[in-house]
Symmetry: C2
Subunit: 352 residues, 2 copies
């Protein structure tokens, strides 16, 4: 389809080839949260940084942890080490990570409180993240693509409104019902700064982008259209206009039966599927002329053994000939044995 | 289809008519967790019982809280007041509810620990639940159907293995990967006792059954087939053999794109859809010659107002002419204003 579809697979085009219309066998592979606590070298660097957010904001250390899994496993893509809550933090809604707890923010629960946010003041913190991207572009092997990312406005909003993670995102959903116009203003702010943030990552050297909508699955269809699809489409439109040819992957986790609608309505070039998406449905999504990413169960990567091998083989067989990128259905969990990740990569690359 | 499709809608056949092949307009309505903390009269009865489980095991009080929402709102069906963890509790794995916390059990994490369970000792506790059903059958208005229920083996197992609720059901999923044959033994025990439990409820007077699989959505397709579909099909087969004509509703929450497969493979006569199922997908499910239940967002019932009215109307319009039972996508939340429930029922019954 695109002119680079036949580009050499020895460059980072291997990861990019599916976006140019080319199925690659074996498929390119990277894993969500591939830089993380399951790796001893990550834990050492994080200790050096002192805190999780400090690690995100120190480009030399953030680049180092991004590179660690590439050195170990030779993934086809690296993903910038950062967090989806960089955006609220940069907007002035300070994010704290306490030991053993998830993130904590002083909640913003109505339109009045939006005045606490400073959309014009994000430059310093976004600049540190983009410096990490620049370093990575220099330090990564030539064959490794670099993925930039941010959280989707809806998912980021659930943390900003709730002040923490929650199983049902009730606070954000309640505001959206109570005062949709006010909530829209928060979403609009997030759309705008996220476009600038991702655009900065591309200018700094990112080859592709992923938008993480971890809590897309809690919404009924009409709310999904307004808070998941519309903001994502606005971001995709603006980023395509600024950076034509840089593919964007959506990850509407839990979207289930709404995933095809998400793909066609947002214009993403790729969709990442969570673990619950059946392989037959992933095959159908691939018919939409997009790249499909996923969707091994992270807990199977903990378990390892024959069950892991069998599921890898099933996934490869199901997606063979499709524009598939191998990934997990969600992030690697900390208790994952690093040798199981090596086994996964070896298996994928040995099965043709 | 069935001979009673034309039965009078003034009896409890109004709820049962869709299962006999008849679309009813306006649709029958009941709400998951319609007996619960949002009602002051429920809180008073619960305080009298002393604890949540004590309330489940006192037939006169459990029947009373089951009847409370019927008196207020005249729902077309009552659902037995009990809990999905009655089954492990009756099996000898004691369940504790601490104030402000969810349930707590001493976890069963391997096959050895299954010896702690006593499948032959469930009679006393199941008997108390069935006594509630008998009382309800006597005390309910003639036009109100009575739904019995239990948790699905997979979902109940996640609590038995994890010892509590968890966002990712990691402990049960890990056991299922580590030792599928051992985990199968736990599932088999749950299938057998759940069949007896539900059969007892039918003998005591239940008109229909619902199987709640709240955590069906965390599994990849092959595990979903083994731990969600297979056990449910075994239960449906056995219950249909013992009690032909008693409809069974499955609620595989989060099953998303696997829901149609769940319906056709298990043989359930109805499926309850969670909030994330788009209305167009609910219409498609109705084409499978089943009853479709759902799926209003419980948080919209908290918000109320015009947004609630609009969504009720959209749902009714989308499902008109289908075999639809109006319900929520998940249980009523405690902060729901009782007057919003009245508004919902009135709206549904006034829109033709």
């Amino acid at each position: 389809m695109a002119p680079n579809a036949r580009a050499s697979l020895n460059t980072r085009r291997r990861f990019l080839a599916p976006f140019a219309g080319q199925a690659v066998n074996p498929p390119p592979i990277w894993l969500m949260r591939q830089a993380g606590r399951y790796l001893p070298e990550y834990r050492a660097t994080r200790d050096e940084a002192g805190s999780f957010l400090a690690l995100c904001y120190r480009p030399e250390l953030a680049a180092e942890v991004t590179l660690q899994p590439i050195r170990r496993y030779g993934f086809d893509a690296a993903i910038l080490f950062a967090d989806i809550l960089i955006v609220p933090d940069a907007l002035g809604q300070e994010v704290r990570f306490e030991t053993g707890e998830g993130p904590r923010l002083d909640p913003i629960t109505d339109e009045m409180a939006l005045s606490r946010l400073e959309p014009s003041g994000t430059e310093a913190k976004f600049g540190l993240i983009c410096e990490t991207v620049q370093r990575l572009r220099q330090d990564l092997p030539e064959e490794t693509a670099l993925i930039g990312f941010c959280g989707a406005p809806w998912t980021v909003a659930t943390y900003m409104v709730g002040g923490r993670g929650s199983p049902d995102q009730a606070d954000a959903r309640a505001w959206a019902y109570r005062d949709p116009d006010g909530f829209q203003k928060l979403i609009d702010i997030l759309v705008e700064v996220s476009i600038d943030y991702l655009s900065g990552q591309v200018k700094a050297g990112a080859d592709a982008l992923q938008i993480f909508d971890s809590w897309a699955g809690s919404l009924p269809d009409n709310e999904f259209a307004r808070w998941v699809i519309d903001p994502t489409r606005h971001m995709v439109d603006a980023l395509k206009a600024r950076h034509p040819g840089v593919p964007i992957i959506g990850f509407p986790r839990g979207a289930g039966a709404s995933t095809a609608e998400f793909v066609t309505a947002t214009g993403v070039e790729g969709v990442s599927c969570d673990t619950s998406m059946p392989l037959c449905a992933m095959r159908e999504l691939a018919e939409l002329d997009i790249v499909v990413q996923g969707n091994l169960d992270p807990l199977l990567l903990v378990a390892g053994g024959d069950a892991l091998d069998r599921r890898i083989d099933e996934t490869l067989a199901a997606m063979k000939g499709r524009r598939h990128i191998f990934n997990l259905g969600h992030g690697i969990v900390p208790q994952t044995p690093p040798e199981n990740v090596a086994r996964l990569v070896e298996r994928i690359r040995s099965v043709a």
